[in-house]
């Protein structure tokens, strides 16, 4: 008699197993935010598209979803810009150069910036939300001539919290990006704008009816920004938001990231506002 133990299928590759990546460099961006540059240990570089995220793993501490902040158009280290806010993010930004971290992914939907070709593109970022938008902007800049006006509206908490400060200047000065920055709280020598990023939308220079808008920040900020964009005449299906939800798997299986019928990790994180609007107006949905 044959035993059922013979001929059992061997386990297929498990998407829950992290792949080892070595920390090549750690750049401090602000007082609480670092960018990690990672290289695969012995494997091929990760291919990803702007807007996607990975599950980043600190050995023995845990795993969190982090958007990729690097340049998708050119080879280089895998970059994530991480704010130190919890146990896992603290372990990640405390990693030493040469240390090995785990990576799963890339997961999720993409900004699809090429949909904006031939028109204007507006990127609106709040706080650390600039990090997931950076790959989209770098992709735009790789083919700058294919787009009309490119506008970056960025709100930070204080002047000290402004991310990618040098790059913001370069983008504005040399690369044809209209950069407008505001802070919630600007003391000391700050001579720029103070106020919510939402307030930058009505007066920014773009042709609303021919605009693709990409928005990333706290959910309440995105809701008001998306509404301000729609009020100016940007079609709701041309406004894209990158949603944040609790994620334990990144592959649609754990259920944590559900927003009614959406699994934000696989149906998102980038979703268009026409789809999201009815879900964002309901408290605690």
């Amino acid at each position: 008699m044959t035993s059922v133990l013979e001929g059992r299928p061997s386990a297929p590759p498990d998407p829950m197993r992290p792949v080892p990546y070595r920390v090549e460099r750690l750049r401090q961006e602000t007082r609480d935010t670092w960018t990690l540059e990672l290289e695969p240990v012995g494997g091929a570089p990760l291919r990803y598209r702007a807007g996607q995220f990975t599950m980043l793993d600190a050995f023995g501490v845990g795993e969190v979803p982090i958007s990729i902040s690097g340049d998708p158009t050119r080879p280089g280290p895998l970059e994530h810009t991480i704010r130190d806010v919890g146990a896992v993010t603290h372990a990640l930004v405390s990693a030493r150069e040469g240390e090995v971290l785990g990576v799963r992914g890339p997961f999720g939907t993409t900004w699809d910036v090429t949909d904006g070709q031939g028109g204007d593109v507006v990127l609106v970022a709040g706080g650390i939300g600039l990090a997931p938008l950076r790959p989209a902007l770098l992709e735009l800049l790789a083919h700058r001539d294919r787009y009309g006006r490119v506008v970056l509206l960025y709100g930070a908490r204080t002047p000290e919290d402004i991310l990618f400060g040098e790059e913001l200047r370069t983008w504005a000065r040399d690369l044809g990006v209209a950069v407008d920055v505001t802070v919630d709280n600007g003391q000391h020598a700050w001579r720029g704008k103070v106020g919510l990023v939402t307030q930058l939308v009505p007066r920014a220079g773009f042709d609303a009816r021919h605009t693709l808008a990409l928005v990333c920040g706290p959910e309440v900020m995105m809701r008001y920004v998306a509404q301000a964009l729609v009020d100016r005449g940007v079609p709701a299906d041309r406004v894209r938001l990158s949603m944040e939800r609790s994620m334990k798997c990144g592959i649609g299986l754990c259920g944590h990231c559900q927003l009614r019928e959406l699994f934000v990790c696989v149906d998102g994180p980038v979703l268009s506002y026409d789809r999201l609007a009815p879900l964002l107006t309901c408290r605690e949905l």
Binding site: R17, G62, G252, H256
Partner: protein
């Protein structure tokens, strides 16, 4: 319809269990523990709950004697196949610290003996089919579930005596299993105790070939069909499924959620006994030296405050939001996600809710309180 059915007696059932064991299966069937029918390893018919019926109602469960010797005269066991195929704690990987970080141990195939599920009910098999859809038939699949599922042998049983909390006739998932079994038993008590056996797979036929069986006669088939008809008419509860998705989406801001929340303890009991609830979390454990770390996938519940936690707080801080998430996912969003209801009508969430909250009653109350406007949004596929 020619069902190629055969008939075995009680000795045949004993032999069936032994044949499965000799083929390397751990036979998991209904057995009595702590005054309830649970699914656990069984070595023979002596381990089955003979001559017992379960009284089930909201927050109520009692085993009472039957006036016959039926082995399967009870309704759904406390839990279905979920703990067997999708354990509450699954090791995902183990890793060891190395000079420059850590190294994952090779993934060890789960070498535990495969399982034969004995006495699985139609609701349980419908739930397994839902888990197949959720965990196997999408872009990413659950490797551990896939392995366990492929090795599992199913001996299903037609439900003959549904409980007061049962409503599988409403959800179209019972009482007679339509598919998903290797063998299907229908227990017949008169004039002699016997089982009609129908074959659902090649390996089912191979196993049955080792058990003395007689071809079923027209009387056996008619008696088995009668079991289904009587069971269908004795469902304790009803769930109106027509338009349920639109009702629940339209009810998102209903004041009824406050009413449910005033009773719901957010204890997670319903999600633990639900055979379709699949939400999980991961837990990392490291040994005292910090050199060996493991990640486990564990059952989680949308009723936990931490479930929807992101930096800054829980996105569903209130019980009303969590109950709404649970029932809306189960009865509405599931249809958009997977093209099917997430409820199989087993009634376990009703029986095991310490506050006697009844999904069929809450759905009916929401329907009554919600003027249905055709929203049109939210539809997918």
């Amino acid at each position: 319809m020619d069902r190629h059915a055969q008939v075995i007696d009680v000795d045949g059932l004993q032999l069936l269990i032994e044949v499965l064991a000799s083929r390397g299966y751990t036979v998991m069937g209904p057995t009595v523990r702590d005054g309830a029918v649970v699914v656990a390893p069984v070595a023979g018919v002596a381990d089955l709950p003979r001559g017992l019926r379960d009284e089930q109602d909201a927050a109520h469960y009692r085993l009472v004697p039957r006036d016959d010797d039926a082995f399967f005269g009870h309704a759904a066991a406390v839990q279905g196949a979920k703990p067997v195929l999708f354990p509450a704690d699954q090791l995902l990987w183990r890793a060891r610290r190395s000079e420059d970080g850590f190294r994952l141990d090779a993934s060890d195939d789960d070498d535990a003996a495969p399982v034969a599920l004995l006495g699985a009910r139609s609701c349980d098999l419908a739930a397994v089919d839902i888990h197949d859809e959720v965990l196997l038939r999408r872009r990413f699949s659950d490797a551990h579930y896939a392995q366990r599922r492929a090795g599992t042998f199913v001996v299903a049983v037609t439900c003959g005596d549904p409980a007061g909390t049962c409503f599988c006739a409403s959800t179209g998932t019972g009482p007679r299993p339509g598919a998903g079994f290797d063998l299907l038993l229908t227990e017949l008590l008169e004039p002699v105790h016997r089982f009609l056996v129908e074959v659902g797979s090649v390996r089912g036929a191979e196993v049955l070939a080792e058990v003395p069986a007689a071809p079923a006669g027209p009387g056996d088939l008619a008696a088995a069909d009668d079991v289904v008809v009587r069971a269908t008419g004795r469902m304790g509860r009803v769930l109106e499924t027509e338009g349920l998705r639109d009702v629940l989406y339209a009810a998102a801001e209903s004041p009824h959620w406050d009413d449910v929340a005033s009773r719901c303890l957010a204890c997670t009991s319903c999600t633990l006994v639900c055979p379709t609830c699949f939400c999980t979390s991961v837990e990392d454990v490291a040994d005292l030296t910090g050199d060996v770390a493991e990640r486990h996938r564990v059952w989680d519940s949308c009723f936990s405050k931490d479930f929807a936690y992101i930096h800054g707080g829980s996105l569903r801080g209130e019980t009303r939001s969590r109950y709404r998430q649970w029932i809306t996912h189960k009865l509405a969003a599931w249809q958009d996600q997977f093209g099917m209801l997430g409820c199989v009508g087993c009634g376990r969430c009703i029986t095991w809710c310490p506050a006697a909250i009844d999904i069929t009653a809450e759905a009916a109350a929401l329907r009554a309180a919600t003027p249905l406007v055709t929203t049109g949004e939210g539809a997918r596929r």
